[in-house]
């Protein structure tokens, strides 16, 4: 997770860990430029807030020490450098842009936070936090490796390994989990470099805008990203633990397909904004359908079979439990991290 604060520290060249620094930023007692200035002082960074009248802003942009935070009506931009051809390079929400001095001056309201760091500037107790962050990374890789081992064991012990379509379904479900997790992070304002890279394919900022819009949730009760997390997670577990539920999973997948039409239509005609991650999730649902279809799992469906109905009911309960759990977890995370500007 990264924020305006950690982006600014990175540009200033101040040693820091994202985990600790983002937490300090989120928990500032004064959620303002004053609070940020105090926090920067704790890191040994000299700061001063200044204002510049409108008529003199173009000149100020060329003369203010870089980097500095420029305030706009829509948030802060980190002005990082002046390019050789006289343009201004800046960062916003972890992305870099270049505009002309005139354009920057027009959007800037004249308020700036100037900062000066030196070699002694550093996050308090940086070494201890850095070691903890490295340990977190090791834990993440171990989780992925052990999960892969368990998944392979399940595929072989249940006999699913012999069905090529099962491997496809597994792969697409895993892709779905990853995409849904990225969307959950977007809705929480959590930075993910991979998600940002994917999101920029169709439309820069589209994922962020839609992730925070009303359409990102079902009647304000559940976020669609949480629904995706629950759906793909339960589908994978059900497939690996109870391979006999594959036909039921195929039915549920088909029930989800109309949602993909609504999602694409909403983005194209209502929001007029493309969320690449959302489009990828819709594509994943269709790829799953093709996998179920080509693997013969759809032809195995018989609605006169009571077992199928029982499986559908039980799976529906599992999806609901997972969704409620994910929703509760996400709500707790939102509550713990105070509203922040990143």
């Amino acid at each position: 997770m990264a924020s305006l604060f950690t982006d600014f520290l990175t540009v200033l060249g101040v040693r820091h860990t994202e985990t600790y620094s983002d937490r300090r930023f989120a928990q500032m007692p004064f959620q303002s430029m004053y609070g940020l200035a105090n926090l920067l002082k704790e890191y040994g960074v000299g700061v001063v807030g200044v204002t510049v009248p409108e008529a003199l802003r173009k000149d100020a942009i060329r003369k203010l020490p870089l980097p500095f935070l420029a305030d706009t009506a829509d948030g802060f931009a980190i002005v990082t450098k002046l390019t050789p051809d006289g343009h201004v390079a800046y960062m916003s929400q972890h992305a870099s842009f270049v505009v002309s001095v005139a354009e920057m001056a027009s959007g800037w309201n004249g308020v700036a936070l100037l900062a000066a760091a030196d070699s002694a500037s550093s996050e308090p107790e940086y070494s201890r936090h850095h070691i903890a962050e490295m340990a977190r990374s090791v834990k993440r890789w171990m989780l992925m490796a052990l999960s892969a081992i368990l998944v392979c064991y399940a595929m072989f012990s249940t006999g699913l390994y012999a069905h090529w379509s099962a491997w496809l379904v597994l792969a697409f479900d895993c892709v779905g989990i990853t995409l849904s997790w990225m969307l959950v992070q977007k809705s929480l304002g959590v930075r993910n470099k991979a998600a940002d890279a994917v999101c920029s394919v169709l439309e820069e900022g589209g994922c962020d805008e839609l992730a925070r819009s009303e359409a990102s949730s079902f009647m304000g009760i559940f976020k669609w990203s949480e629904v995706g997390m629950a759906y793909f997670s339960v589908s994978v577990l059900s497939m690996l633990l109870f391979p006999g539920t594959m036909p039921a999973l195929a039915v549920i997948n088909m029930v989800c397909l109309p949602y993909t039409v609504w999602s694409i239509a909403y983005q194209k005609f209502k929001a007029k904004l493309w969320c690449t991650l959302c489009v990828c999730v819709q594509a994943t649902l269709w790829l799953l359908f093709i996998s179920y279809l080509s693997g013969g799992w759809v032809s195995g469906i018989s609605f006169s079979n009571n077992v199928l109905w029982i499986q559908l009911v039980v799976l529906a309960c599992c999806y609901m439990v997972a969704l409620l759990g994910v929703n509760r977890l996400v709500s707790a995370i939102e509550k713990y991290f105070k509203p922040e500007r990143s």
Partner: protein
């Protein structure tokens, strides 16, 4: 630390505390930056 720029003024702590962080924050693409000359309605909460 304040550079020699015409018209530049140092802000007081009270003024700096008036520049609040708002929850809704869009990506400030060049198009957005230019449009902020006529703000769309999102403000820093005071």
């Amino acid at each position: 630390m304040i550079p020699d720029v015409d018209g530049i003024k140092k802000m007081s702590p009270l003024e700096m505390n008036g520049i609040r962080f708002s929850k809704q924050h869009t990506v400030l693409t060049p198009e957005v930056i230019v449009s902020l000359k006529n703000p769309r309605g999102k403000h820093n909460m005071k």
